[in-house]
């Protein structure tokens, strides 16, 4: 093998250095992401025509899942459980308010209880919420058991979204809520005809009736092979039991309305501190993310420079060797800087933790109070419902003349 000349060695070393530098640069470019933020809010699409009363679907928004079990590792330290729990109510309320305001639906309510007796049910899960980014998973279905869709919604807001002049009274993530409302309306228009809308309402009504008088209305509904609830036959227009149950349903609406008051109070108390928390959190999260990215980049660059320097330091060419020394020195400096940046990022995490702790201390008692009130009222109402079920069963027995099963007393 022909021995390489010194200048050939130098060229080879230079090539290696350039190659390594190029690879490092490509690696860095490949890792970089570009996030486009916008303060523009997705406009809400509203129903243009008039929807017939019997086709207006009521919507129940369930309380969102906090998603605490699915938080990514790199976001755990930026997530606060109590705040996330409060957010579940907040986001549900915002979705409810948005749907309510576009006039395409019937009555829209936040409902922490069983939703299956409502025409349309919206359930969701908060994947991420840190003031800068909100990701929620939304599932929509209806009373017949038809699954409309499941979709992940993501919104990244800019700093200006927290500017009151820019918000104009809206939530910074209002665009995401509007997209949820738009998608629901679009799906309904595309997939459901008028007859199906009426059918959904009928099924919901009969399901509610079935819950109160199963001995009467269980035969009116059945499940088809696709697992969807279908109406076998309709009750008489002047069905007295159904009239009574409709009256009870009105009371159920009242109960849900009372819950709305609870939630409204909670949102009222939560809104200002929560918005402020999100605004500050936004800054901290932004700085944290930037510093983390800087640290990562410096770490990679430093490592690449050191590796390149080690490779080039054996060169016979003095210039290459000096360059290699420079690379080694620079790489070491970059790595040191990466560690410093990480420490700085950690400071922002601590600042964020302080913010979060303060917010949690303020909001946790309110969340607990809200939950207690909802549970208490729900329990009271359910107890009343139980009594009504029994009275209805008695009435049914009287009207039909059936022999009601009796309970024998112990003797």
């Amino acid at each position: 093998m022909q021995a390489l000349q010194p200048n050939q060695h130098a060229i080879t070393g230079l090539h290696k250095t350039c190659l390594l530098t190029g690879l490092s640069w490509l690696l860095l470019v490949g890792c970089a992401t570009q996030t486009v933020k916008s303060t523009s809010v997705t406009p809400m699409v509203e129903e243009k025509g008039i929807v017939a009363e019997e086709e207006l679907l009521d919507v129940a928004i369930g309380i969102m899942d906090a998603g605490l079990d699915d938080i990514p590792n790199n976001r755990e330290e930026l997530t606060f459980a109590d705040i996330r729990l409060a957010e579940t109510q907040f986001v549900s309320w915002q979705v409810s308010k948005t749907l309510q305001s576009n006039g395409s639906w019937g009555i829209v309510r936040v409902n922490p209880n069983e939703l299956e007796n409502t025409d349309v049910q919206v359930n969701g899960k908060i994947i991420q919420s840190d003031g800068e980014t909100m990701v929620v998973d939304i599932t929509v279905s209806d009373a017949t058991g038809r699954q409309w869709y499941t979709k992940e919604y993501k919104e990244v807001v800019s700093r200006f979204s927290y500017d009151p002049r820019q918000r104009r009274g809206n939530d910074p993530f209002q665009g995401m809520y509007n997209r949820i409302a738009n998608d629901m309306l679009a799906w309904r228009k595309k997939n459901l005809n008028n007859q199906q809308l009426v059918s959904i309402r009928t099924v919901a009504r009969l399901k509610f009736a079935q819950g109160f008088a199963p001995q009467v209305y269980s035969q009116y509904l059945s499940t088809d092979r696709r697992g969807m609830t279908v109406v076998n036959r309709m009750p008489a227009a002047n069905d007295p039991i159904l009239a009574r149950i409709d009256t009870i349903r009105e009371r159920d609406y009242m109960f849900i309305d009372a819950l709305q008051d609870y939630y409204a109070n909670f949102i009222l108390e939560m809104n200002a501190p929560y918005t402020e928390f999100r605004r500050l959190s936004y800054d901290e999260v932004m700085k944290y993310d930037k510093l983390k990215a800087d640290a990562r980049r410096n770490m990679i660059l430093g490592a690449a420079a050191i590796i390149g320097g080690i490779a080039a330091v054996q060169s016979d060419n003095a210039a290459v060797r000096y360059g290699a020394y420079g690379g080694l020195f620079g790489g070491g400096f970059l790595i040191k800087d990466a560690f410093s940046t990480k420490d700085e990022a950690q400071m922002h995490v601590e600042a964020l933790a302080e913010l979060g702790d303060s917010m949690q201390a303020e909001i946790a008692p309110k969340t607990i109070t809200l939950d207690e009130r909802v549970i208490t009222l729900t329990g009271t109402v359910n107890e009343q419902y139980t009594q009504w079920r029994e009275v209805l069963a008695d009435i049914y027995t009287e009207e039909v003349g059936d022999v009601a099963p009796t309970t024998r007393s112990p003797e």
């Binding site: 009105e250 409204a264 009222l268 605004r279 009271t380 008695d394």
Partner: protein
């Protein structure tokens, strides 16, 4: 010889013992003894002129067979017609006449006093026949358990002139063979008289000398309460009611729902057909609806008051530069959330309370038609609020919320002056 005598004596003693044991065993197995020893539910008071051996209480709960029921019909005076009534064989049971509780004018009456005549082979609804009735010298007591542990029951007030009251059990005049039975089942609300909290517990109390159905009362499903009767029969008279001769059955649901108080006098019987009972049940439903509405409205009022209080706090902290005003949007957030807090009200017609429909929402059947929404009367020359600053907005809000017309107009003038519009007084 001696052995023979001993043997005879032994046999005699053995025979005597056997006889004694048989007699004792027979006594033990007699119904009365069984009732007194084994049945923890009923206690039959000592009746001086009634042979206890003839007292028989049937604790069976008999399912109703409506097809075989002869429903006593009510006349206007509240007495069932004789054709469908059970006779009082002795005719000596207190006020045998027409003093049944809840006369015919009361649609919710299901119990009635007065003589009752059994239809052959057909027990009355809500009653149990456990043997031949109308035996001379015996008496029947059918205890009707009304108002289960979780059932809201309707209170029927005591009619004037009707003997007996919840607070007194006068018994029968002259101390005749009367049975004062009082069964009180109460359902205590779980939250201090909350309107719909009834039924969580059931307490059955008994009065001395009463026929108590506490065990059954507590164990029965309230859906069947009021239709489940326990009867006891012996000689004397029929009393297929919750009480006889001035006593009462008071089914009370404390704090949760109205109660049913059925009072009968003398020989009473379950009366009233299906429609009457449906009316009673409907009345119960209506009553509980009222209680429920009251509770919900009270909750909403409470929530509204809290919202007002919280709003004041938010406004205060905003003005003081607190967290609400950190971004300068505290008060606007407050106003916005208050607007959002007003949800679609869907209360029925018979309840109070208001609500506002959001923009775009359509009034639909079942929604609460609240036509008296307060619409602020904004003068025509007042522009929209988009260019208002804080002071202008406060002036606007003060003017919009001012009920007095003169003051309101002055406030609007103040607003006009502030924003640079010509005031009404200037133009005049």
């Amino acid at each position: 010889m001696k052995n023979m005598m001993n043997n005879s004596i032994f046999r005699l003693v053995t025979f005597s013992l056997t006889c004694a044991l048989s007699a004792a065993l027979q006594l033990c197995l007699s119904p009365h003894f069984a009732l007194a020893q084994e049945d923890p539910v009923f206690r039959v008071p000592e009746l001086p002129d009634v042979d206890p051996a003839r007292v028989q209480i049937n604790t069976d709960i008999v399912e109703r067979d409506r097809s075989a029921v002869a429903v006593p019909s009510f006349e206007d005076n509240g007495a069932p017609s004789s054709a469908n009534s059970y006779p009082n064989p002795q005719g000596s049971r207190g006020n045998s006449g027409n003093t049944g509780s809840g006369s015919g004018s009361s649609p919710s009456t299901i119990f009635s006093g007065g003589p009752i005549t059994p239809s052959p082979g057909s027990p009355p609804p809500n009653s149990t026949q456990s043997g031949p009735q109308g035996q001379s010298g015996g008496f029947d007591v059918n205890v009707s358990v009304s108002g289960g542990p979780q059932m809201p029951t309707l209170s029927i007030p005591t009619l004037p002139g009707m003997p007996g009251s919840p607070s007194s059990s006068p018994g029968s005049p002259g101390g005749q063979e009367t049975m004062n039975s009082s069964s009180r089942s109460s359902s205590n609300g779980s939250s201090g008289g909350g309107p719909t909290n009834g039924g969580s517990t059931s307490n059955s109390t008994s009065m001395p000398g009463d026929v108590i159905a506490s065990g059954q009362n507590g164990s029965q499903n309230s859906a069947q309460s009021g239709s489940t009767n326990e009867g006891s029969q012996g000689g004397g008279s029929d009393g297929s009611s919750s009480s006889s001769n001035g006593t009462l059955v008071d089914s009370t649901t404390n704090g949760t729902s109205p109660t049913v108080t059925e009072k009968t006098n003398g020989t009473t019987a379950v009366a009233g057909g299906g429609s009457a009972r449906i009316r009673v049940l409907d009345a119960r439903l209506e009553e509980s609806f009222g209680v429920f509405d009251g509770m919900i409205i009270s909750e909403r009022e409470k929530a509204q008051n809290e919202a007002n209080a919280a709003g004041s706090d938010v406004m205060g902290s905003s003005g003081a530069g607190g967290s609400g005003g950190a971004d300068g949007s505290g008060d606007s957030d407050y106003a916005r959330v208050l607007d959002e807090a007003i949800v679609i009200a869907s209360s029925p017609d018979n309840s109070s309370g208001g609500g506002m429909l959001p923009e775009g929402a359509k009034v639909r059947e079942g929604d609460f038609a609240y036509n008296e929404q307060i619409v602020a009367n904004i003068p025509e020359d007042i522009p929209d609020a988009s260019d208002d600053d804080v002071v202008a907005r406060q002036l606007r809000e003060a003017a919009m919320s001012e009920p007095d017309a003169d003051l309101r107009e002055k406030l609007w003038d103040e607003y006009r002056r502030y924003v640079g519009l010509p005031t009404k007084t200037d133009s005049e």
